[in-house]
């Protein structure tokens, strides 16, 4: 879990050997003077999702699979996200990508592939129930969070 805001939970994931999770790595890489406005918009959008919940209609049902992206700026800085439930999002890494296809931008492909693999592994574990949604309480506020075996071995790790 990266952060919980009320009922809403933001998840990211941590690769072995890295001192930051993927989302913090994205922020460390792209939160530069020339990208401040883009990152500000993304931060505001993530907080807006926390307030309003995740409206599935915002995501293309037949888009690039389960992984979608928050985009900002004319150069299309993108942050890869997976809508998990009405109250949760997984945020990963990102890149700049305009009209170029994914395969031609290695940085994007790497971040996107990792999200796709994570989504596949997560769905598998939700099906075999080694990962499940657990209802918790914070005072009078109930919220659901992912629990169980959240350690994954993906790709060439």
């Amino acid at each position: 879990m990266y952060q919980r805001v009320g009922r809403f939970t933001l998840y990211s994931f941590h690769q072995n050997g890295r001192h930051e999770c993927e989302f913090d790595n994205f922020l460390s890489t792209y939160d530069t003077a020339e990208n401040t406005q883009n990152i500000n918009k993304m931060a505001a959008a993530l907080r807006e999702f926390a307030k309003r919940g995740v409206d599935r209609r915002r995501f293309r049902p037949k888009g690039e699979g389960p992984v979608d992206a928050l985009l900002a700026g004319p150069d299309n800085l993108r942050l890869y996200i997976i809508p998990c439930s009405a109250d949760s999002l997984i945020v990963g890494n990102g890149c700049f990508k305009n009209e170029a296809i994914l395969q031609n931008v290695p940085e994007c492909k790497k971040a996107w592939d990792l999200m796709m693999e994570l989504d596949k592994a997560l769905k598998g574990r939700l099906l075999d129930k080694s990962i499940y949604w657990e209802e918790n309480w914070d005072g009078n506020l109930s919220y659901c969070e992912l629990a169980g075996d959240l350690y994954f071995e993906l790709g060439n790790c």
Binding site: Y2, N40, F49, R58, A69, L71
Partner: protein
């Protein structure tokens, strides 16, 4: 625990937060209309001669919609997205306003001189219908 995102969010200017919130409102309105009509984002993209990916981008809440884009979307959907009509102002005109008049000041020798600096016809001030005159 304070996260990196918290630190960034703290510095986000109020106008950016408001812009993103409005962008969410606009995209939510578009999504509601699409649902009402049984249209997909692809249908809207076709109507606007845009790529579906462009419409998808608009729906994420970070897009800064221009009035031109909103107008084009409204025409394509045949419905209003942004309701900033002058209906409120019109309502005020129809209801009229009350005029408070200082009778004593007006009765003083010479009276109050209200000299228009520009002619009424050129005035940018909207003329209101007088509802009631209250003397004091």
């Amino acid at each position: 625990m304070t996260t990196k995102l918290d630190l960034i969010y703290e510095r986000v200017p109020a106008h950016t937060k408001l812009m993103v919130s409005k962008s969410f409102d606009i995209s939510e309105r578009i999504l509601d209309i699409l649902e009402e009509k049984g249209w997909t984002q692809k249908d809207l993209a076709e109507k606007l001669s845009k790529k579906e990916s462009e419409i998808s981008k608009w729906m994420k809440g970070t897009h800064n919609f221009t009035l031109e884009t909103i107008s084009k979307i409204e025409i394509a959907l045949g419905q209003t997205i942004l309701d900033t009509s002058n209906s409120r102002k019109q309502e005020d005109v129809e209801n009229g306003i009350m005029v408070f008049k200082n009778v004593r000041a007006d009765s003083l020798i010479g009276g109050n001189k209200h000299i228009p600096i520009i002619s009424v016809d050129d005035s940018p001030i909207i003329l209101y219908k007088m509802k009631k005159e209250i003397n004091f």
